[in-house]
């Protein structure tokens, strides 16, 4: 147990770093311009409207405006159902580009702020890592829309690279580099007790320098206490591990590791490895690709609420099977893949142990990020990526997308 030593009081918390130099100074000017002028108030007949119109006076509103003023919003990069994305830059450093994601008020969701937005903001506020998209700031605009100031990632996502087999060539060293970045991102999430719960290639965005960043924390949650159930209805179906397909409500970081394994497989064969068109089908395909989950290879599996497998039991696939399909990874690479695809989540490798695996040290060395293959003309793509809401934009891939949360365990 760590005894947290002296934490110095960050007197800067509101003042220094976030540069709210003197709230009072601003207040004075705000006053004369709005409520200090009695006329403005009298013109508006309704008192509530007057308050709505009055410019910032509260400290809270001033702080928000300070954040807002730090950025300049530029052209629209994309428009979606859930959010519009704009290019922006830092007011005091125009060379520093950002993406400003303005979340729209959703008419259909009548319970206030949408849970996705809450989850995304909550976790991105806390996680700061080179392989996780950076959220520089959040502010609200006058019309009560949320604006997330995110890192500008102009080179599209990993899915675009994987599936553009005509124009993009990459090899084992590139795969190793990308996987290294993904694994570090997932390790960092787990180290901070956050489950991502939607890892897949199109949530892996690429920065200008080639660095891969894990994005979309709309399904993320903190690790649960042992007695508190979680929903099993998470992770896009093709990347969903067997325990979730069987309805497990107490699970761990192992769910993300399974998804990471499937991203690795997809990087090699350049098509989704286990692409079921229903949950039952997904389970069948897992049985064929990996083996049938039984009490022998996974004690307790038959007790899971939705355990159903075909009568015919397919034995666990051996190393030869994987070598035939994924041989380009080499013996160690295949070993790592197999460990991520362990049926029993207790035996599945952890993100931490993945980072300690031998594969990273074997030849070929991972490609330096500046030398990684890039999609040309990706400028316009960032808009599409950031505003996207799976299952809407990409109709053709809709079948694999299962982005909904079960509110069942709620009250």
């Amino acid at each position: 147990m760590a005894v947290s030593p002296l934490i110095v009081h960050p007197t800067s918390a509101l003042q220094g770093a976030r540069a709210v130099s003197s709230p009072l100074k601003n207040a004075a000017s705000a006053q004369t311009s709005s409520n200090g002028t009695p006329l403005a108030v009298q013109v508006v007949p309704n008192a509530a409207a007057a308050a709505a119109q009055s410019t910032s006076l509260d400290l809270a509103e001033q702080l928000n405006d300070e954040e807002k003023r730090k950025y300049v919003k530029g052209k629209k990069l994309g428009e979606g159902t859930y959010a519009n994305v704009y290019l922006g830059f830092l007011r005091n450093d125009p060379s520093h580009l950002v993406a400003i994601k303005k979340i729209k008020i959703q008419k259909e969701y009548t319970e206030g702020m949408a849970p996705d937005a809450v989850r995304e903001i909550k976790h991105l506020q806390e996680l700061s890592h080179p392989n996780i998209i950076t959220m520089h700031s959040v502010f609200s605009s006058k019309d009560q829309n949320l604006n997330l100031v995110l890192e500008y990632l102009p080179l599209g996502d990993l899915e675009m690279l994987i599936h553009d087999t005509e124009h993009i060539r990459y090899g084992a060293a590139d795969i190793k580099a990308w996987m290294g970045m993904l694994t570090r991102a997932v390790w960092f999430c787990h180290e901070n007790f956050v489950l991502h719960r939607d890892i897949k290639p199109n949530n892996l965005l690429i920065a200008a320098d080639g660095e891969v960043k894990l994005a979309d924390f709309g399904l993320a949650r903190s690790f649960s206490d042992p007695y508190r159930p979680m929903t099993s209805n998470v992770i896009t179906r093709w990347y969903r591990p067997p325990e979730l397909l069987f309805g497990a409500q107490h699970y761990s970081g192992a769910v993300d590791v399974w998804s990471v394994g499937l991203v690795l497989a997809e990087l090699v064969i350049r098509t989704p490895y286990i692409a079921g068109n229903s949950e039952i089908h997904q389970i069948q395909l897992i049985c064929q690709a990996v083996g049938t989950p039984t009490e022998d290879n996974w004690p307790g599996v038959t007790k899971l609420p939705e355990y159903t497998v075909d009568k015919e039991v397919i034995p666990l696939r051996g190393k030869d099977h994987y070598m035939a399909l994924f041989g380009t990874l080499g013996v160690e690479g295949v070993d790592l893949l197999m460990k991520t695809l362990s049926l029993d989540p207790k035996k599945r490798i952890t993100a931490r142990d993945m980072l300690k695996h031998d594969w990273w040290h074997k030849d070929p060395r991972p490609t330096r990020k500046q030398d990684l293959p890039k999609k040309s003309g990706g400028q316009g793509k960032v808009g599409a990526d950031l505003k996207r809401r799976p299952g809407i934009i990409e109709e053709d891939r809709g079948s694999k997308v299962a982005r909904k949360l079960d509110f069942g365990p709620a009250k």
């Binding site: 005894v3 947290s4 009695p38 949408a114 949320l146």
Partner: protein, 355 residues
């Protein structure tokens, strides 16, 4: 320095919501004086002007009332059978909100409900709005939501609150592992510390000044100083005495703060014997000096929405005008958007978005 400390410094709790005592005090004074000048101007400007201006709450008044409402909030959260952590998150949200907003500006009773509801959301427990509102007769869902946005802004969009509860479980496990104490002593200390943590840090500024582990140790020290000493001896084995004493000093100052609101205070607050009577004049004072424009949050929210809509309408009109000179892209986009929206509804994908 330990990497765990470095990591804590990345948290929004440290970056945005930790202050030195003097800084905290000055923030409260600013918030109070801003509210007073705002409300005074507003009252003078109304027709007919309010002549003698009412007596305003002082920062000290606000502090007293704040705790009164937090106790109220905890009671309501308990009534909803919410887990300890969510209760605490709601209380801390409330405390943070009223650091940069005055009680005179936004009505605390309404914010109590909003904080509880939003804390559930922030902790991933999806309480249905209607079900939640039904728990409290006389409260509508609309009222609960009216202040949600204002709350989020007041929280500076930091929705993650680090609590000391799990730290306590860890410390007790550690003590068991050391094996120097009998189980009954540990169980007693465990229980007592938990009781302290459920109330004292929420009614004091502990979360603004100390880390979760410091708060936990401060509470443990209240329950059983010997256990704290034993843990520190272990943690600082092989390190200098001064390093240990430095930490101990912080823990003791945290303890001193927690002791101002010991768990026993809960009953005295709840009986209302002392508190309600002391609070009566303050609540009366508040009723007279609050911001007349923001008493009715539902109406305020409606006005804000309408304003936003009008702004948006004005925008589309100009766009349509400009479309006269070209293809009406705007309309097509809108139709597409509508179609997408319908699909969203049809697919049951109500929740939301990715990046």
């Amino acid at each position: 320095m330990a990497t765990e400390d470095a990591r804590y410094r990345q948290s929004s709790q440290y970056r945005l919501w930790s202050f030195s005592p003097s800084h905290l005090q000055s923030l409260r004074e600013k918030t109070n004086s801003l509210a007073i000048s705002h409300i005074s101007n507003r009252l003078r400007a109304s027709s007919p002007p309010v002549d003698p201006l009412p007596d305003f709450l002082t920062p000290a008044d606000e502090a007293l009332l704040l705790n009164f409402y937090i106790v109220d909030l905890l009671r309501a959260a308990q009534f909803c059978d919410l887990p300890t952590e969510i209760q605490a998150t709601a209380a801390i949200f409330f405390r943070r909100f009223y650091l940069t907003n005055s009680l005179m500006t936004y009505p605390p009773r309404a914010l109590t409900m909003t904080c509880i509801f939003f804390a559930c959301k922030a902790e991933g427990l999806y309480y249905r709005l209607q079900k939640f509102a039904d728990k409290f007769p006389g409260t509508t869902g609309e009222e609960v939501l009216a202040a949600e946005f204002v709350l989020c802004q007041g929280l500076r969009f930091a929705f993650d609150v680090r609590h000391p509860y799990r730290a306590l479980e860890g410390a007790i496990m550690e003590l068991r592992r050391l094996g120097d104490f009998d189980e009954s002593r540990l169980a007693r200390a465990h229980q007592r510390t938990r009781d302290v943590l459920k109330l004292s840090p929420l009614l004091t500024d502990a979360y603004f000044h100390y880390t979760p582990s410091q708060i936990m140790f401060g509470a443990l020290s209240m329950a059983d100083e010997g256990l704290l000493q034993r843990l520190l001896r272990d943690a600082f084995a092989g390190k200098s005495e001064s390093a240990k004493n430095q930490v101990l000093d912080v823990i003791q100052s945290c303890r001193a703060m927690l002791e101002k609101e010991p768990p026993e205070r809960r009953t005295s607050y709840w009986d209302g014997s002392g508190s309600k009577e002391t609070m009566k004049p303050l609540n009366k004072k508040l009723r007279k000096c609050r911001d007349p424009d923001r008493v009715d949050l539902v109406a305020l929210q409606k006005a804000r929405r309408e304003q936003a809509l009008q702004k948006a309408k004005a925008k589309t009109t100009t766009r349509e005008e400009s479309d006269i000179f070209g293809a009406s892209n705007g309309k097509i986009e809108d139709e597409e958007r509508e179609a997408k929206r319908r699909r969203v509804v049809g697919g049951g994908d109500l929740l939301g978005p990715p990046l």
